[in-house]
Symmetry: C2
Subunit: 145 residues, 2 copies
DNA sequence: CAGTATCCCTACCGATACTG
DNA sequence: CAGTATCGGTAGGGATACTG
């Protein structure tokens, strides 16, 4: 398990100055909750119960119709899948194509930006996987103490 | 604006097979909502209203006492800051040191894992910043259409 | 098939008051 | 100073019924 050094901001020495400036910018932006903040926005979008799952499902299958996606995810309700997909579509992460047929056919797939989002999520997932044992042990310790 | 290619999973050609395997593992893990899933867990932790802000504040200042952190964040209530910090402490992202003094002094700082989490958040923030214009324009289009 | 509409319930969050 | 305790509001989410 690679351990970051114990300086406050820990990156390669020569990048730390710029990174620290960047950090303050992001912090300031996040602090003003009246203005819109990209990080909070993106996190908020993927943090609801079904968005991440929808993105991963579309990422693995490429294109899915509404009911196929619903079946793939499992226990999502019709209502919540609709809401989730509309939100993802609104922000440009998912595209929705309607075919004028009877019965209707609607196909969903990730946009390029949606695939980028999925990559970000997968990076986070990799990190989270490596940290999992530490998190679990920390929780146990917390309960006892 | 760098555009990912239009294959389903887009990374360097030679990494794509392993990455795709990885993706399915993560998807399967995320689908079973009864078991604990590292990604969902971590996202859930940073997606509440004050966690990310607390992490960034501690990241820029190193160590902060309760009221200093409260002042730094701005409009967080005492209750919510306490709840937030306890959650972060429970998962091992923040350490809490109590000094047996009168009046009491309590110091918070990021653990190594907490700094790692901040780095992950900053990466996501960088990406989110570059995507912001596209997201905004997508929202506008959505409203009109 | 792919959605709306409605109702209800729970989790998160804020304000206020109190305390070791 | 650094917290708890209590209450009440709001947004997310589920079940069910209905529809172009």
């Amino acid at each position: 398990m690679s351990k970051p050094s114990n300086t406050v901001v820990t990156i390669a020495e020569n990048e730390s100055v710029e990174e620290e400036k960047n950090l303050k910018l992001i912090l300031d932006r996040a602090k003003d909750q009246s203005k819109l903040c990209p990080v909070r926005d993106v996190i908020h979008r993927i943090s609801d119960k079904w968005s991440l799952l929808s993105i991963l499902a579309l990422g693995t299958h490429g294109t899915l119709r509404f009911n196929a996606l619903k079946k793939e995810i499992g226990d999502v309700s019709q209502r919540m899948l609709t809401v989730t997909l509309r939100n993802l579509e609104e922000d440009g992460f998912v595209s929705r194509k309607i075919y004028a047929e009877v019965p209707p056919r609607v196909e969903y797939q990730l946009t390029d930006m949606g695939q980028g989002l999925m990559q970000q999520a997968l990076q986070l997932a990799d990190w989270a996987n490596t940290q999992l044992p530490a998190i679990i042990s920390s929780r146990k310790k917390f309960k006892k103490g």
